[in-house]
C-alpha cells in the first residue's frame, strides 16, 4: 500500500480525455457535446495538477486556475449562443445546424 505514482494520475487523465473525445464526436445534442468538452478540460486540469505535484511547483495550479476562468467565460458565451440558436432553429441537433456548408 504505497503512495500512488503520479503516472497513474496521468493515465486517468488520458482515459478521461479519450472518453471526452468520443463524447464530442458521437452525441447529437449540442448541450451534451458542450458538456463533453468540459470533461476534456477537466481531464487536462487533472494532468496539470498531477505534474505540478510531481515537480513541486505551483505553476501547474496557477494554470488550472486560469483554465477554470476561461472555461467559465466560454460556457457563458457558448450557452448564450445555443439559446439564440434554439430560438432561431427550434432545434439543438448537431446534424440540423449545418448551414455553413458547401
Amino acid at each position: 500500500m504505497g503512495v500512488t505514482p503520479i503516472s497513474w494520475y496521468l493515465a486517468l487523465s488520458g482515459m478521461l480525455f479519450a472518453i471526452g473525445t468520443i463524447g464530442v464526436l458521437t452525441r447529437r445534442n449540442l448541450i451534451v457535446i458542450f458538456m463533453a468538452i468540459e470533461l476534456l478540460l477537466n481531464a487536462v486540469n487533472l494532468s496539470f495538477v498531477a505534474l505540478a505535484r510531481s515537480l513541486g511547483s505551483m505553476d501547474g495550479q496557477v494554470i488550472v486556475f486560469f483554465v477554470m476562468a476561461v472555461a467559465a467565460a466560454e460556457a457563458a458565451v457558448g450557452l448564450a449562443i445555443m439559446l439564440q440558436l434554439y430560438r432561431l432553429r427550434e432545434t439543438l441537433n448537431a446534424d440540423e445546424v449545418t448551414t455553413l456548408r458547401w
Partner: protein, 628 residues
C-alpha cells in the same frame, strides 16, 4: 566635302504649315472661312521662307549647305539622329517645288472645295501633309526623313478617304495606306541594316562611312546592295512603281486638288528624292541602279498601255503619273539623278496643271468624270481648255515646252549616260509615243469632236472662277517655259557632275517624231474618224479588255495575297485565339471549378466531422512525436 553653315532659318519653312495645321485643327470650325485663308496663307509664308533660305544658300560658296538643328533627338551609342534640317541644292529644289506648287494648289482648293461643309478639315489635312513633306525633304538624317515619309502616308490616307461616308473612298484610303506599309516595312529593314553596318543615319555621316560600307557583307550579299534594293522597294510603295503601284489609281477617289498635290507633284516624288539623296549608297551598289532603271522603264511602258484604255479622266492622269514616275526612276538608274529631278520638277508643273484642269472640267460639268460624256468643250471653257492644252503639250514632250527637255534627256541618257541600257531607251521611246497618244486622246475626247455631254450638265456648264483659273495659268506658264531651269546642273552639285555627250540629231528627230506621231494618231482616232477606236477595240477583243481592266493585277493580288492573309487572320482569330488560347484559359478555369467542386464537399457544416479531423490530425502528431 561640304562646308556646313548653321542657321535658324530653315525651321520656319516647316513651322508655318504646322501652325496652319494647328489653327485649322482647333479653330477652323470656330471661325468658319478662316481655313480658306490660313491654309493657303501659311503655304505662301513657307514659300517666302524657302526663297529666303535658298538665297542665303546661294550667297555661300559652292559645296556649301545650311543646317538648322532644332533639337537633339536620339543619341544612343553611336547612333545620333537630331531633329535637324538640311538645305543643299537638292533639297532646295524640292522645297521650292513643294511650297510653290503647293501654294498654287491650296489657292485652287479655295474655289474647288468652296461648297464643301468640311473645308476646315480639308485644309487641316493639307497643311499637315505639307508639313510632313517638308520634314521629308529637309531632314538631315534618314530617321527624320522616315518620320516625314510616314506622315505623308498618313495624310494620303486621310485625304484620299476625305469623303469617307462613301465606302469606296474609305476603301481606297485603306488601300493606299496598306500598299505603302509594305514599302515602309522594307524601308525600315533597310534602315536597320544601315544602323547596324554604318552606325549612323544622317546623310553626311553616311558619306563618311562609305568605305566601311563598301566591304560590308551580310549572308554573302553586299550590304549596300541589300539596303539599296530594300529602299527601292520602299520607294516603289511611295512612288507607285511596280509592284506596289496599285493604290494610286484608286486614290483618285479623293478630291482633285489632293490628286494634284499629293499624287502628282509631291508625295509620289519622295521615292525619287530618297534615291537621289542616297546617291552615295547607290554608288556603292551599281546593280541596284540597274534594278531601278529596269523597274522604272517597265513601269513607264506598262502604265502607259493601261492609260490608253481608260475612260475616267482622272484614271488616265493617274496611270500617266505612274508612267512618268517610271521615267524619273529610269533617269536615276542610268546615272542621271539631275535629269530625274529635272523631270520631277517639270512633272510637278504639268501634271499638277493637268489634274487641276481635270478638276476644272469636272467642276464645269457638275462632277462628270467619264470622258464618254464629254466633248466639244473647247470654246465653252476657254481658259481650262487652253491651259490643259499647254499641259498636254508639255507632257507629250513637244519642244519648246518643259517636258521635252526633261524627258528626252532621260531617254537619251539610257543610250549615252553613265550606266547606259539601250534596250530601256527603246522602251522609253515606246512609252513616250504612248504618252503622246493617250494625252492626245484625253484632249480630243474632252474638248473636241461632238458634244456628248448630258443635258443637265450642259445646262450648268460654266468656266471656273478666277481663284481656280489663275493657278492654272501660272502653272501653264511654268509648264511652258520651265525647260530653261538649270535643274540638272543644280542637283549635280550634290550628286556629282555627269559628263554626257550632247544628244545626236537622230535621237532628237526620233523623239519629236514619236511625240507628234502620237498626238496626230490621237487626232485621227478621236476627231477625224471616231468610229476607229471602237473597231480596234472589238478587233483586239480579249486583249483590249485585259488592258482596260488594268491587266487584272488587283484581282491577282486579291487572290494571291489578300485572301491567304485574311484566311490566316481568320485562323489566328478563331482557331488559335478563340479555340486554343481561350480554350486553355477557360480550361484552367473549368479545371479549378471542377476540382474545387469536388473538394468543397468536405465542408459538411457538421461540427463533429470537423472535430473528427482534428482528432485524426492530433493522433498523427502524437504518433510522430512518440516514434520520432
Amino acid at each position: 566635302m561640304v562646308t556646313v553653315t548653321a542657321t535658324d532659318a530653315l525651321r520656319w519653312i516647316v513651322l508655318f504649315p504646322a501652325l496652319g495645321f494647328l489653327w485649322n485643327l482647333f479653330l477652323g470650325r470656330r471661325f468658319p472661312g478662316s481655313a480658306k485663308l490660313v491654309g493657303p496663307g501659311v503655304l505662301l509664308a513657307a514659300f517666302i521662307a524657302a526663297v529666303l533660305a535658298v538665297l542665303q544658300l546661294h550667297a555661300l560658296p559652292a559645296q556649301s549647305a545650311l543646317r538648322d538643328v532644332v533639337f537633339p533627338w536620339i543619341d544612343v551609342g553611336t547612333l545620333r539622329a537630331n531633329v535637324a534640317f538640311w538645305l543643299d541644292p537638292l533639297s532646295a529644289v524640292m522645297v521650292l517645288v513643294v511650297t510653290g506648287v503647293g501654294f498654287l494648289i491650296h489657292v485652287y482648293s479655295i474655289g474647288y472645295m468652296h461648297d464643301d461643309p468640311d473645308v476646315a478639315r480639308f485644309f487641316t489635312y493639307l497643311n499637315l501633309f505639307v508639313t510632313a513633306m517638308l520634314v521629308l525633304v529637309l531632314a538631315d538624317n534618314l530617321l527624320l526623313l522616315f518620320m516625314g515619309w510616314e506622315g505623308v502616308g498618313l495624310c494620303s490616307y486621310l485625304l484620299v478617304g476625305f469623303w469617307w461616308t462613301k465606302e469606296e473612298n474609305a476603301t481606297a484610303g485603306k488601300k493606299a495606306m496598306l500598299a505603302n506599309r509594305v514599302g515602309d516595312a522594307c524601308f525600315l529593314v533597310g534602315l536597320f541594316l544601315l544602323i547596324q553596318y554604318a552606325q549612323t543615319l544622317d546623310f553626311a555621316g553616311l558619306e563618311r562611312q562609305a568605305d566601311v560600307l563598301r566591304v560590308a557583307t551580310i549572308g554573302g550579299w553586299s550590304v549596300p546592295l541589300v539596303v539599296c534594293l530594300l529602299l527601292l522597294l520602299g520607294a516603289t510603295g511611295k512612288s507607285a512603281q511596280i509592284p506596289l503601284y496599285v493604290w494610286l489609281p484608286d486614290a483618285m477617289a479623293g478630291p482633285t486638288p489632293v490628286s494634284a498635290l499629293i499624287h502628282a507633284a509631291t508625295m509620289v516624288t519622295a521615292g525619287v528624292y530618297l534615291t537621289c539623296r542616297l546617291h552615295v549608297l547607290y554608288a556603292l551598289a551599281p546593280e541596284a541602279l540597274t534594278a531601278i532603271a529596269v523597274v522604272g522603264a517597265v513601269t513607264a511602258f506598262y502604265a502607259a498601255t493601261i492609260a490608253v484604255a481608260q475612260m475616267d479622266i482622272k484614271k488616265v492622269l493617274a496611270y500617266s503619273t505612274i508612267s512618268q514616275l517610271g521615267y524619273m526612276f529610269l533617269g536615276v538608274g542610268v546615272g542621271l539623278p539631275g535629269a530625274a529631278v529635272f523631270h520631277l520638277v517639270t512633272h510637278a508643273f504639268f501634271k499638277g496643271l493637268l489634274f487641276l484642269c481635270a478638276g476644272s472640267v469636272m467642276h464645269a460639268l457638275s462632277g462628270e468624270q467619264d470622258m464618254r460624256r464629254m466633248g466639244g468643250l473647247w470654246r465653252r471653257i476657254p481658259i481650262t481648255s487652253a491651259t490643259m492644252a499647254v499641259g498636254t503639250l508639255a507632257i507629250a514632250g513637244v519642244p519648246p515646252f518643259s517636258g521635252f527637255f526633261s524627258k528626252d534627256e532621260i531617254i537619251w541618257g539610257a543610250f549615252a549616260g553613265p550606266h547606259p541600257h539601250p534596250v530601256l531607251g527603246v522602251v522609253g521611246y515606246a512609252a513616250a509615243a504612248l504618252t503622246a497618244f493617250y494625252m492626245g486622246r484625253l484632249m480630243c475626247l474632252t474638248f473636241f469632236g461632238t458634244s456628248r455631254v448630258d443635258a443637265h450638265a450642259e445646262h450648268h456648264l460654266h468656266e471656273s472662277p478666277p481663284v481656280m483659273t489663275i493657278p492654272l495659268v501660272v502653272l501653264a506658264v511654268l509648264a511652258a517655259v520651265g525647260g530653261v531651269l538649270p535643274v540638272p546642273h543644280v542637283v549635280e552639285q550634290v550628286t556629282g557632275h555627269v559628263r554626257m555627250d550632247e544628244a545626236t540629231l537622230a535621237a532628237k528627230a526620233v523623239a519629236i517624231a514619236d511625240t507628234l506621231g502620237g498626238l496626230g494618231l490621237a487626232w485621227v482616232f478621236y476627231v477625224l474618224r471616231p468610229e476607229l477606236p471602237g473597231n480596234v477595240a472589238t478587233a483586239l477583243g480579249g486583249f483590249y479588255r485585259l488592258v482596260r481592266d488594268k491587266y487584272r493585277i488587283d484581282e491577282l493580288y486579291d487572290r494571291v495575297i489578300y485572301r491567304p492573309v485574311l484566311a490566316m487572320a481568320d485562323a489566328a482569330a478563331w482557331v488559335i485565339d478563340r479555340g486554343f488560347i481561350d480554350g486553355i484559359v477557360n480550361g484552367v478555369g473549368a479545371f479549378v471549378v471542377s476540382t474545387s467542386g469536388a473538394w468543397r464537399r468536405i465542408q459538411t457544416g457538421n461540427v463533429q466531422h470537423y472535430a473528427l479531423s482534428f482528432l485524426v490530425g492530433a493522433l498523427v502528431l502524437v504518433t510522430y512525436y512518440l516514434v520520432g
